[in-house]
């Protein structure tokens, strides 16, 4: 791609555009086959709920999930035709495309023919780690972008040791925190590895100085977040105390995740398990480590690439955060891309070895992905293979959402456990949602003064967390004085005020 990019730039861009088209095609295929990411739906629902409110406020977004992916979705809210919830998938593709363009730019340094670089690009893109992140509509595509920048900054610290690389590392961590809750674990995992990245002289003279330079912005980001929680929610710890918080990961629902059931609360066992996962899904990392053993600078970078995600997985699991190792393991694809920008494949033999290891990584990655898939990942694989991943007619959230769309009326509902409902409705106009003053005021009343109430079945996972159910525990089963049942289907009931 070097020749492609550096000669005219056109062919390289065309090739990357083709790859992005491929990703778009795959996403359309997935959606057409009924795949729907919970994460994407939840984020989109948050955005439309926040922007559809009477008064658009920052606090409408809640402080229970990182905000940057939400802000990036805001412009899509105003684009006609995206009400159906396609925006998060589009954002994932854009983020992945941006990453590919960035990578192509950085690959200018690598002296490889365009054919070889194209082969590398294809092998990177078809790895399930990358493909899952790029097409599942989750925030992992943005995380991958952040991880790529982190890794490039680390490489720059090793090779150049200039102030820009330290600033890049520190500032990328800030963005990472506002993209993904796992950034905390990725940051903590890098702390011991900084001694491998930074020049020995700096570490010997002032380790504290080094850690302050890299860590202060991240600490500021966390402190800022806590402060915003205090300002708007009354508690600095709101974002790690609230049961719906994404910052808690799988902590409160350990039993739903096999990974946490096996390894939650432990460090070394998940570390070993993650090492096994890495050896299967990314053996190319080990190859790069061995290949660079005679090059101090590159070896340090490869060593960090190998170890960093493993430590992050172990720490995140020890804190019951990580629900599946692929949430962090997928980021290795981005690290690998960054590593390849430094690779000097001078002989045909070296290149052939690299390609072989990348092919093995792709094969191993797919095997591992399918074998260890959680329900969402399984749904994705199903859809990818052309099977229908879900049946919309049997989806209670979807059905009630569509019903509410047909019956637009001010409705009280707890959106945090019903994001799919909001997404299916397509807007939040007229809804009385949990962040609004009206919701709080209505909930204080014995008989809520609202025209319509939607509640999920109280024994369902979302029903148990639903504030309306908690406040009116008999509503679902017995209704409420002054309200009549107007909808009852697939675990959702809607009561309407008699006078309405």
């Amino acid at each position: 791609m070097k020749q492609v990019i550096s000669r005219s730039g056109l062919e390289g861009r065309v090739f990357i555009s083709l790859l992005i088209l491929l990703l778009t095609g795959v996403t359309i295929w997935l959606l057409a086959h009924g795949f729907m990411s919970d994460s994407a739906t939840s984020r989109w629902a948050t955005v439309i709920a926040a922007l559809g409110a009477k008064e658009v406020l920052l606090e409408n977004f809640t402080f229970l999930a990182p905000h940057l992916p939400l802000y990036l979705l805001v412009p899509f809210y105003y684009i006609p035709g995206l009400e159906g919830g396609g925006a998060p998938y589009l954002l994932s593709i854009i983020a992945s495309g941006f990453l590919l363009f960035l990578w192509a730019r950085d690959l200018k340094e690598v002296e490889l023919s365009q054919t070889r670089l194209a082969m590398l690009a294809i092998l990177v893109v078809i790895h399930p780690g990358f493909l899952w992140a790029a097409t599942s509509g989750s925030h992992i595509a943005l995380s991958m972008l952040a991880f790529y920048l982190l890794y490039r900054a680390s490489q720059h610290i090793i090779s150049d040791h200039d102030i820009h690389s330290y600033i890049s590392l520190a500032v990328t961590f800030v963005f990472f925190f506002f993209i993904d809750g796992s950034a905390v674990f990725i940051f903590v995992a890098l702390i011991p590895l900084l001694v491998v990245i930074a020049p020995l002289r700096t570490i010997m003279v002032s380790p504290m100085g080094l850690y302050l330079i890299v860590g202060t912005p991240f600490a500021l980001a966390v402190a800022t977040w806590a402060y915003l929680n205090w300002i708007f929610e009354g508690s600095f710890m709101h974002f790690i105390e609230h049961p719906d918080s994404a910052f808690l990961g799988g902590m409160l629902y350990t039993q739903e995740y096999p990974w946490l059931l096996d390894f939650g609360g432990q460090f070394f066992k998940p570390l070993l398990a993650a090492t096994g996962y890495l050896l299967i899904a990314y053996p190319v990392s080990v190859y790069l480590l061995l290949d660079t053993i005679n090059n101090n600078y590159r070896f340090r970078a490869s060593f960090v690439l190998l170890l960093h995600p493993l430590i992050a997985i172990a720490i995140a699991t020890s804190q019951y955060y990580l629900t599946h190792p692929f949430e962090i393991l997928a980021l290795i694809s981005a690290g690998l891309m960054a590593e390849l920008t430094y690779v000097r494949m001078q002989t045909r033999r070296e290149f052939v070895f690299l390609i072989i290891f990348m092919i093995v990584s792709v094969v191993g990655g797919w095997w591992l992905f399918i074998e260890t898939a959680n329900p969402q990942m399984s749904q994705w694989v199903h859809a990818l293979t052309g099977k229908q991943a879900s049946d919309g007619n049997r989806d209670g959230d979807l059905q009630v959402g569509l019903w509410l769309k047909k019956n637009p009326m001010p409705t009280l509902m707890y959106e945090r456990s019903a994001s799919r409902v909001i997404a299916a409705r397509g807007d939040a106009e007229g809804l009385v949602l949990s962040f609004s003053h009206e919701f709080k005021s209505v909930m204080r009343e014995r008989n809520p003064n609202v025209r319509q109430i939607a509640v999920p079945e109280p024994q369902s996972p979302s029903g148990r967390r639903d504030w309306v159910n908690i406040r009116y525990p008999h509503l679902y089963d017995h209704g409420m004085t002054g309200f009549r049942l107007v909808y009852d289907n697939l675990g959702w009931r809607v009561y309407r005020k008699n006078s309405a």
Binding site: L58, I167, G209, P217, L220
Partner: protein
Amino acid sequence: MSQSSGGVTKPRIGELLVGRGLISNDQLEQALLLQKTEGGRLGDIILAHHWVRTVDFYDALTDHFRKGRIGDLLLERGMITEKQLDEAIETQKHWGTRIGDIIQARGWVKPYLLGQVLAEHFEKPNVDLLKNRLDESLLDRESLSTYSENLFVPWRREGGLLKVAVVDVNPKLLEMVDELVGEPFDIIITSKFDIIWMLQEIGNQFYTEKAVHELANSKPQFSASEVFTARQLIFLFVLMSVSVIALTFWPVNSLILFNVMLSLFLLLNFGLRIVLTWVGGDKHFDNLVTDEEVLAVDERTLPVYSILLPMYHEAATLPNIAQALRSIDYPLSKLDIKLILEHDDDETIDKAKELGLEGIFEIIRVPDSLPKTKPKACNYALHFCRGELATIYDGEDAPEPDQLKKAVIAFKKAPENTAVIQARLNYFNVAENWLTRMFTMEYSLWFDFYLPALDALRIPIPLGGTSNHFKMDVLREMEGWDPYNVTEDCDLGVRLTQAGYRVGVLNSTTFEEANNSIPNWIRQRSRWLKGYMQSYLVHMRSPIKLYRTLGFVGFWGFQFFIGGTIVSALLTPVMFLMYILWLATSTTAFDPYFPPVVLYLTLFNLLIANGFLIYLFMLSGFKRRYFSLIPWALTVPLYWLLQSWAGYKGFWQLIHNPFYWEKTHHGLTTFKVTHDIGAGKTPARTAASSAGSKS
């Protein structure tokens, strides 16, 4: 007129001149006749009749007059040793200057003694101007600057021939004298100090007038002598009236609007600083001039460099700076160092005399006049400078030894329109106390990040107080510094940019003494902020014109970099106070004035912007490898409060005493003055604190 020296018969003067075709045989005969009848020297007679120009006369006869070689003459008279002569000859090969200059620069022979030998060498009279005063009627008052810059002065008229006192004899100088006096003349030899002292005594009023009023007379639009112009006062009046009316009729909306504007300003101000830090952090700026380039310099090609040392009650620091300049890596004989001392500063003048400084140091006594400011003193001294390039150092400075060479190289590499190159400033007493730590981080941020970025983005650079290296002709063209501006350096940087010149930066550091006392720091900082206000007011007299000359980036860069510094200093305590009040009382009184968007902007400024501004301080310590300073950056909000205090003091003075130069005491540090500050090195404390001084 037979001449013989050492047994070698020289050709006669008349024959030489006829032989060169400079005079005719008839003229020679007439001259010889006059010599016979009236007496006198043949050469004087020929010159007096203007049959030949003095320049051509000496061009033809230089060798004729020369008696021996200067070095040999000095050796013969026991003024120097053979070893010194050998060393001087060897040095001459590298420096490419005259033996006499080298000997004088080394301090082996006093200038007046050298003058005597020089006179003997050229077979010309040596005159002590203090004992044999010149005829003042011969002076052209408008040419006083030319006299002092080139070290010659019309002395007397003898035998109808004008005698001009010179320090050196060279064709260029004689050409200049010839052009200026416009009549036949001959030369006498004197010492440069005689000329300087004499001209100062005679031309005090002229030089002072020029130093104080030149800018105000020739470019009044750039002079801070008028603090507020009438138009600015009208604008202020209208603005205040509109504000009062708005506050009366629409109090909430007006305050919301004010909050929006303020928040946006602070946000953009923060944004600019982030951009500057990123751009200025580029490695390229640390290698603008490399060590290899310095090593490769041919010293013979280096220009004469004037160094201005304005001092006031700084006797204690004088030995340090003198030593620092002696150790500078530049041909000493090409240094033209001016100790600029106030007339009433006997203490420093006596110290300078007591130190018996080499001939390259010249004392310029600035007469008492108002405003009593550093720029005025420098303007005064500018009339005596002979360098092609010039720089300023303070008494407590310790420049890196290769700074002047780096500046010369930087000028060669820079675009032709580069008028000044600013070196980096930093401190040698970094770890003395909390204040010096803060000050060091601030300076590191300013000079290591901001200024290189301003240069790269073509935003006017507010020059630092010292270590700015000027092209002398441009500096004179700009009429020097504004004596009424108490941050004349900042003002000059903006003026130069407006005049189409470029202000560059240099990767060489001058280490100074950081203020280690809060009252002293407040004095200094209040002057700086007052000066910034003066500069802002001066350059914003015609905002549209300023925009046209600086362009979009330059104009807004000026608004946020200079204006932003002032506004931040003045607003910080107000914002802090409101925040603390809100925090402590949970009052809802402010709520109407902070609707959601304004609240988010304010929160961003409070949390992210302030957080990152603290981080920038950390980065400055990190880049300078002052690792121990990094944790101290967390206390920088206290430093901002001090800055605000100084800001309000400066603002008060701007109204009540705009030209008052707040004196900063120097020499208070207990640390040793040194330029050798590196990672892991802790600058040493001296045994005892030296006496303080002011500047």
